[in-house]
């Protein structure tokens, strides 16, 4: 026990005195969590503060176009900036690009005629949308759907207006047939166990993603200390002191499991206490502490085992940190840590399942977002532990073959 305490003390001191390791393990993920949470805040926030500014040219002299713009602005997502209706199309396009507008809406002369189904141009398309090519297709669809919806409501209301007398004759109140102002669709989020309602905020996505990412970055301090111990003959000295290979591996495993645990606590604390101070929503961590401990331990075990294997294969610390960092970034990107999995196409989502980081991320999301428990994270945890055992076995074989420990 005394031996173990000194081993723990030694590893902790080595890490705390290694500025690069501290930066990578604690500062980098903390900064990532804050930046990504605040950057993605509006993507997840139902009360979005994102406003799409739209340059608008209104050639319509009727009242219907004004009604359309008013209805659209009630979404609180779109803001229309009207310019002189005599502006020529080329100038409109120039203004759109120079003033960094994503869209320009051109309301044609026939708009009211189209809505009222009466007058010149009543059968021609009444709207034209100019789109900046950098705009994501999803954003275009949001605007187009909103315009379609509001146009349909206007046309329906106009139709009701046209048959007003007929309705009065039939004893039907035209108000009953008017289009609903509010959306008839209720949105509900589904959680395990029917627990209380929790919003899938940016912080719920960012904390687990960057936590898993930083836990796998344990490869940097592990390979640095492991390779310097090997190259400086410390392993040889320890072997001559009757310290076994397994004990040496355990001596690495336990301190780094604790360091990963400290990472988990710090990153969660940042999500819970620091993110709200910066304007984000606070992280909620679900109700299953046992589930959280299980998935965190499994991620940690596999991350340390992968790191030990890389350290035992690499010839230099630089080689190990390069291999480790590149692997982490690739598996992180693939596993949905950098771009949420749900925005990926199906084949990429299937590919993401190959990344152990994705197993870890999904486990944390089970706990944080879906209010899952031990049974929900058990399969992912077992997969991570199995991966860790394979990596650890390979490490021991390599070390014994190279007579390094």
């Amino acid at each position: 026990m005394i031996k173990l305490l000194y081993i723990l003390k030694k590893e902790f001191l080595l890490i705390l005195r290694d500025v690069h390791a501290v930066t990578i393990l604690f500062v980098m993920p903390a900064v990532f969590i804050l930046i990504m949470t605040l950057a993605m805040k509006d993507l997840f926030d139902l009360h979005s503060t994102v406003v799409i500014d739209i340059l608008t040219v209104n050639h319509d002299a009727g009242k219907r176009s004004a009604a359309l713009l008013k209805a659209m602005e009630e979404h609180n997502t779109f803001r229309f900036h009207l310019i002189d209706k005599d502006t020529v199309t080329e100038s409109v396009k120039e203004q759109m690009l120079s003033r960094d507008y994503k869209f320009t809406l051109i309301i044609k002369k026939n708009f009211s005629a189209f809505v009222n189904k009466k007058g010149k141009g009543k059968d021609e398309n009444p709207l034209e949308l100019l789109v900046n090519p950098t705009v994501p297709v999803q954003t275009q669809l949001v605007l187009k759907s909103a315009l379609d919806g509001e146009l349909s409501k206007l046309r329906w209301d106009a139709f009701i207006g046209r048959i007003e007398k007929l309705l009065a004759f039939a004893g039907i109140d035209k108000k009953d047939l008017k289009a609903d102002k509010l959306s008839p669709i209720d949105v509900q989020y589904v959680y395990k166990g029917g627990q209380s309602f929790k919003m899938p905020s940016a912080v719920q996505q960012s904390v687990p993603a960057w936590l898993v990412f930083s836990m796998f970055f344990i490869v940097v301090p592990i390979s640095n200390t492991f390779i310097s111990e090997r190259d400086q003959g410390t392993f040889m000295r320890l072997k001559s002191m009757n310290v076994s290979s397994s004990y040496l591996i355990l001596g690495k495993m336990i301190p780094y499991l604790l360091i990963n645990a400290v990472q988990v606590i710090i990153m969660i604390a940042i999500g819970v206490y620091v993110v709200p101070l910066c304007g984000g929503t606070a992280l909620t961590i679900g109700d299953s502490l046992a589930g959280l401990i299980l998935i965190a331990s499994a991620v940690s075990f596999s991350a340390i085992s992968v790191a030990l294997l890389i350290a035992s294969i690499a010839r230099t610390a630089e080689q190990a940190t390069t291999i480790g960092a590149v692997m982490n970034i690739i598996f992180g990107a693939l596993g949905g840590l950098m771009v949420p999995k749900f925005v990926m196409p199906e084949f990429m989502q299937n590919l993401a399942n190959l990344s152990p980081m994705s197993w870890g991320l999904e486990g944390f999301l089970d706990i944080f977002l879906r209010n899952g428990g031990v049974s929900d994270v058990l399969p992912k945890s077992l997969s991570l532990i199995a991966l860790g055992l394979v990596m650890l076995g390979m490490t021991l074989i390599l070390l014994r073959r190279h007579r390094e420990v």
Binding site: Y6, K10, Q232, G233, M236, K239, S240, V243
Partner: protein, 249 residues
Amino acid sequence: MIKIEHLYKSYDKKPVLKDVALSVKRGSIMGLLGPNGAGKTTLISILTGVIRKDSGSITVNGMDLDHEIGAIQSRCSYVPQTLAFYPRLTARENLEYFGALRDLKGKKLKESMEFCIDIGSMQDFLNKRVDKFSGGMKRRLNMAIGLLNDPEILYLDEPTLGVDAQSRNYILKTIKKINCERKMTIIYTSHYMDEIEQVSDEIAIIDEGKIILHGATQDILTRADALCGHRNLEELFLKLTNIRLRDEN
């Protein structure tokens, strides 16, 4: 006493030690000389239990290395030629760590540390990080760590490599001192012939995996006189091991 008989060791079918036979008297200092790649480090690694021999027998103070490796290792200590400690820790933290791995604790650990601090003359920089040490200070710490368990046998692999004359002199005096005061058996490798002459009671020369000369230092110097015309160990060494370069592959 250390007794080695018919010792063989190969790496990837390449023989490194071939029928090595050697005995070291209890309480003596034996200088082990040999060109690069002669098998010195392999021999010491086998004696310290770091690597396994292929065949042969080794007994250390009456204990068989094959069957009592743990007991032998607890009575021996190995100081590698590399600086085998943690540069980001202080001297005290390094001593505490290696002492704890030697199963020392409490008063015993404190006493051992005090002895090693004194031996390494490290009182003034005990709480300083080792990466700020000079080469000589690092060498002294490297040796001090090896003395924590008060070993019966101390293996020193080039303990004066890369240090200034003052530190070298200090280390050599310390080796003599602990050998005298504690009756410690010391096996000492070095490329500096004058050091070997100065501290060793007996000398063994190993080349291409074989012990080609072994005897008391005075006897060997007499033989050098007979073979080379004067009592110069280096000339004898070159005569016996040939002057061709031994660049390791």
